[in-house]
Symmetry: C2
Subunit: 336 residues, 2 copies
């Protein structure tokens, strides 16, 4: 079986396999895979938005649980989510892999194919990257580039006291999906909601239509994605904007799988959903006088619901209000 | 001692340490470290050049041999070298780290400081990146962005039969430096040449002045950097250009430490220098009628010598000519 691993294929053959799967680049890519660097033409009048993320086997995924295609998809999706949060339109991507010698070539191919499929779907062709071996866990890194007109850029820091906070989709799906996998539940026996939660954990979708649509309408004062959970996102927006925040527990759109999970674990569903990471939803801050423009622009989110979950406040605390009392919102997922 | 590791510091504190060390970004950086993504203003009329590289502990360096500062320096230098080979001027950089929990905080700081020092020296401020933990070896990834006017861009594929090949600096230094470290020679007892070779292995200098200077003069038909050794570089230029090549062994500028090493190992100095990787010199192809313009532009290389080492040929073979006979040039360093 040595024939079937990345080590036996060799570096040049692996690069060739990536190049074949990436296909011909679009016109704005002057130099794609295979030179010292890639060359991309900037969009006239736009700023360049850049972000990078890394998935590490044993930390962000397990090779025995996670299909290689999910690793490739998610490696890029998390970076595209950062572009969405800035209001940027994707333009190009890079893939960087540190490969254990025993990684099956079929897994390498599946990882690259899923990355490329997502990249092409969002107009961010794979234009380069790096392959190296490692004696440790598989590491998959992505860099994504986007473009945005300066006046449409959404930062974390634009919020003001009184701004309303709106959230895309539902929260807790990824954490519930991970918990389902950790509980060792057979995938074939999952309920529809649980299967959807696992899908959202493994193959998150960056909210690009929503991010760019609302940026174009200039209807949000700040935006962040939920990579490290809602609690972290609210805290980051509040901190960057110099405000506090109140989140209304009753308003939170919990993914249905969170309730199943909370029942199984005798846990607090809202708390699990708030602190669980990796949902990759977007959180917007919106001035009250922009509410109408925001809700109109939200139609560009292609059916994705947007929920009012609370407000930024002049008081510096970041609170969760439920049953008439306020408690600290708490911290999010941390990587250390 | 748990207080002194990256695990005990926590993610937000580590990001804060990076931000402090990166300092205030220049005017073309609209958003630096600390938002979902960085935002950089493109240079008017220029293309964007992007490249990424990864150093893995146990593959590219050993933590017990290599000072953390050298890892940070080299992580960026290898990407800057790719920009140099395209003729691009650096504009911004990203640093991505997968950190073992036991990494001393002092090593983390030293790595970041060396990365930032090199980044600032070449006008490529650190604008973002990613930190994650790992259960395996330390992984340091860099992404570098540059800009170049389209007509000045140097690719690998522009060579033609009859073009002369010019090489910056001397080759074999990095391989001799690595061999010196591998032989366990005490650093304090190294000769000047050996110490220089170790320095070139650990802290290579991207040939940016030379790359951008010659690109500006439009004096080279093709260019590549020597990340995987001279043999690989010549083969890549020939292959991309649809030519063969002849390298003259007698003309090769060998680093003096290569001869010491060859004597110690009873090896073939030229062969060691040709196949040894990581020199990060530049190899140019130059039309004979451009020779004068090239040598004039080479004055911008700040004293770095340029040596004529051979020619591209119509015959497809890639050969080394020495003592009146031709032998295959051979393969370069491969990562698998």
């Amino acid at each position: 079986v040595r024939n079937d691993t990345v080590a036996s294929a060799g570096e040049h053959a692996l690069i060739e396999r990536v190049r074949e799967r990436a296909g011909a680049p679009p016109v704005w890519v002057t130099v794609g895979i295979g030179d010292d660097a890639a060359v991309v033409e900037p969009e006239r009048g736009a700023s360049i938005v850049v972000t990078t993320d890394t998935l590490v086997e044993g930390v962000h995924f397990r090779r025995d649980w996670t299909p290689a295609g999910a690793v490739g998809h998610k490696a890029l999706a998390v970076s595209l989510s950062d572009l969405a949060a800035m209001g940027a339109t994707p333009r190009a991507s890079l893939l960087s892999l540190a490969l254990p010698a025993d990684l099956p070539l079929a897994d390498f191919d599946a990882l690259v194919e899923a990355f490329v499929a997502l990249a092409n779907r969002w107009g961010a062709p794979l234009v380069g990257g790096n392959l190296t071996r490692t004696t440790g866990p598989l590491v998959a890194g992505s860099t994504a580039f986007g473009s945005v007109r300066a006046r449409r850029l959404m930062r974390r820091s634009g919020g003001r006291p009184g701004d309303e906070m709106y959230l895309t989709g539902a929260i807790g799906a990824a954490a519930a999906g991970l918990a389902t996998l950790q509980a060792g539940v057979d995938r074939a026996t999952l309920s529809g909601n649980e299967a959807d939660a696992v899908q959202r954990y493994e193959r998150p979708e960056a909210r690009l239509r929503c991010g760019t649509g609302i940026a174009r309408a200039r209807a949000a004062s700040a935006c962040i994605d939920l990579s490290d959970g809602l609690a972290d996102a609210v805290r980051q927006i509040a901190q960057a904007s110099g405000t506090g925040a109140v989140v209304l527990a009753d308003a939170l759109p919990l993914h249905p799988a969170v309730r199943t999970w909370a029942e199984r674990e005798h846990g607090d569903a809202a708390r699990l959903a708030i602190t669980g990471g990796e949902d990759y939803e977007l959180l917007f801050a919106v001035r009250p006088r922009q509410r109408r423009a925001f809700l109109t622009a939200a139609r560009r989110c292609s059916g994705l619901p947007l929920t009012l979950i609370g407000k930024l406040t002049a008081e510096p605390e970041v609170l969760l209000e439920r049953n008439g009392t306020a408690e600290p919102l708490g911290a999010g997922f941390t990587h250390f």
